[in-house]
């Protein structure tokens, strides 16, 4: 309607025709829309062309295969899976296995890296040298070598199931992995779990309260030991109330292997150990650099305030070093996650092995599978980065 309306003509906005193209914002938007459209068109054409070519070559395409029966077995599944599950389910199992290795590896690598990194700056000559040797040896050997060493060399030295190393007849170590007893929670166990949840809440509240009090009055409260007491004590009381409905399922040798209990696959163990030790070497250097980056004046100032060296490291140096360390630490975490794909060499059922390997070969759908695999790693990496960036901002905020 507005168009046919013949009211006061453009004269009201004399420069309108010329100014709209002179407006940098408008021009920028148009350019962006054009670029997006071109990219979308190109992508569309590529996908269409790929489909056309694949069907000409009689190669199956599409994502329908994800619903088909996988037919192969997997020896570590965090969610229920069997041979008649679908390829999609196998993908999920594989992603979880990758995440498990990544998370456990990151935790160990970080602990190791911090210990060694601080150790390299120790006043003790022995400690310093041992840490230096560790860093040099681990960082300078290829990761695949680490993995194969921990898998083949250590595995070959392990006894067969019948001659397992046994620890008090409860834990068994052999060339099939490490078997540990599993706690089976019986009737009424929820009371214990609820008690544990309450303990967690208490610990959080206690922490907040103690910090507030310290900032107001300067008085210290033994938060750590109180927390431990709460976390252990409350669940204990909870389980005691219902008469300890817990049983221990001990692994027993039956036929070729142990049954019952929980089992750590040798592939998993080797991978976690190799990744942690390897990445730990890099993290140690990051930690050392981070600490060195904090000016010496800071610890001198802390000392002149009467802080003991230990406290000054913990309260003054490390928090500031964290800010320097987080970005390179993030890339180490990303590396560790991606490096877990070397597991294909030792048969740990993770993403590349199960999906980009077995599934690709059984279905032949290389393009779709490689695309999904890349997508999975991308998402895992982006989520890790997002988390680390969030943490980085939190640490950075403490600066005044």
């Amino acid at each position: 309607m507005a168009i046919t309306h013949d009211g006061p003509a453009p004269a009201a906005r004399p420069q309108s025709t010329s100014s709209i193209w002179n407006d940098a914002r408008f021009r920028g938007n148009v350019a962006q829309i054009v670029v997006v459209a071109v990219v979308a068109l190109l992508l569309g054409a590529m996908i269409w062309n790929a489909q056309e070519n694949l069907s000409n070559q009689r190669i199956a395409s599409g994502f329908g295969f994800l619903n088909q029966t996988a037919g192969f077995g997997l020896n570590q599944t965090l969610i229920p899976y069997n041979e008649s599950s679908s390829y999609g389910r196998a993908l999920l199992v594989a992603i979880l296995n990758t995440l498990l290795v990544a998370v456990v590896g990151i935790v160990f690598a970080t602990i190791l890296g911090f210990l060694v990194g601080v150790g390299r700056l120790s006043k003790n000559w022995m400690v310093r040298k041992v840490c230096t040797v560790y860093v040099e040896v681990t960082r300078n050997l290829p990761l695949l070598f680490h993995i194969l060493f921990w898998y083949l060399a250590v595995l070959a030295a392990m006894p067969a199931a019948r001659n397992s190393y046994s620890i008090f007849g409860e834990v068994f170590i052999n060339n099939r992995g490490v078997y540990i007893p599993r706690i089976v929670f019986g009737e009424g166990s929820h009371v214990g779990f609820i008690a544990f949840a309450i303990a967690v809440v208490c610990v959080i509240v206690l922490n907040k309260w103690a910090t507030a009090r310290r900032e107001k009055t300067g008085q210290q409260f033994p938060v750590f030991w109180t927390s431990v007491a709460l976390l252990v004590g409350l669940p204990f009381v909870g389980f005691a109330l219902v008469g300890f409905p817990l049983t221990l399922e001990t692994p027993v040798l039956k036929g070729f292997n142990f049954v019952g209990g929980s089992r750590l696959l040798p592939e998993f163990a080797a991978l976690v150990v190799a990744l942690s030790i390897y990445t730990g070497g890099f993290i140690a250097e990051i930690v050392r650099a981070g600490i060195k980056a904090v000016s010496h004046g800071q610890s001198e100032a802390a000392a002149s305030l009467g802080l003991k060296p230990n406290l000054s490291t913990r309260l003054v140096v490390i928090p500031q070093a964290m800010r320097v360390m987080i970005p390179p630490l993030t890339s180490q975490y990303l590396n560790l996650t991606k490096n877990s794909s070397l597991a294909a060499f030792i048969g740990y059922p993770e993403l590349v092995q199960v999906f980009a390997g077995t599934t690709l070969n059984q279905t032949g759908q290389a393009i779709e599978i490689i695309a999904i695999t890349m997508g999975c790693y991308l998402v895992i990496s982006l989520v890790t980065s997002l988390f680390m960036n969030w943490y980085n901002r939190r640490v950075a905020l403490i600066e005044r």
Partner: protein
Amino acid sequence: MKKILTALALGASAVFASGAADAATLDQVKQKGFLQCGVSTGLPGFSNPDSKGEWTGLDVDLCRAVAAAIFDDPSKVRFSPLTAKDRFTALQSGEVDILSRNSTWTLSRDATQGLNFTATNYYDGQGFLVRKSLGVKSAMELNGASVCTQSGTTTELNVADFFRSNNLQYEVVAFQGQEETLKAYESGRCEVFTSDQSQLYALRLKLADKDEHVILPELISKEPLATAVRQGDDQWFDIVKWVHYGMLNAEEAGITSQNVKDMLNSPNPDIKRMLGAEGNFGEQIGLTKDWLARIVTKVGNYGEAFDRSVGKGSPLQIERGKNALWSKGGLQYGPPIR
């Protein structure tokens, strides 16, 4: 890594290619001056580099025979060692002209992998290798066992079927390469190494204490190990198929690398047709009249290749069994050349 590169190459070619049909493989091969043949990474008897680095074996001989038929020179072959995982992608992407790598002919591979199986070079079945000290006499006693195998194979699927259908517990540990699989078995990670039976014979030779291991009597599957070519080039498909059938026909007619010269003068019309003294049969599939004479002279007939690679003349000592000619009670049957 290699796998991903190959897959990316395939992706790129699928995404960007113009969609025009492939030029004829035969012309490409002639232009290149050699045949690119996909084989295993090293499997004694089938495709394995010898001490001089020369590839030998039954699968290798098929490629050499194709080269002999085209170039009259069995050495005009280049070999691409491929793991189980990489092999079909390598064929699809054009990295190899022929896949002659102990690959089982199955419906889904035939239908969805963009390839055609030409003929079965070796009839096999899946078996189990265990340590003698285990005292196991039959696969049915393997309840609860850990099984090492190579990923991306029919083996991986059959083993799941076998244990499941017999209600036996098992754990499968799947490795990408054959070296790693064998190492893991040797280090005791698994009670059982499973693979096509012929490959068990071959790989047992690689074990340090090879007499300490036995192959269980059960065969749990049908594994027709066949040669494959890309789908969509019928001429090439015919050539590769008939090279195998030609070698079978030669064996059946008693033509060997030793007597082929004399056989050229044979009055037998069958032999005359085969060796190109009569008719133009080789030319009908795009080769020369003397195609089969070239093959038998340079490589030998099927029986000769078999004996030399996996049979009596080899360390594997495998009986002809199902791979005997049909006329001797086996399954190898070459349609007539006429």
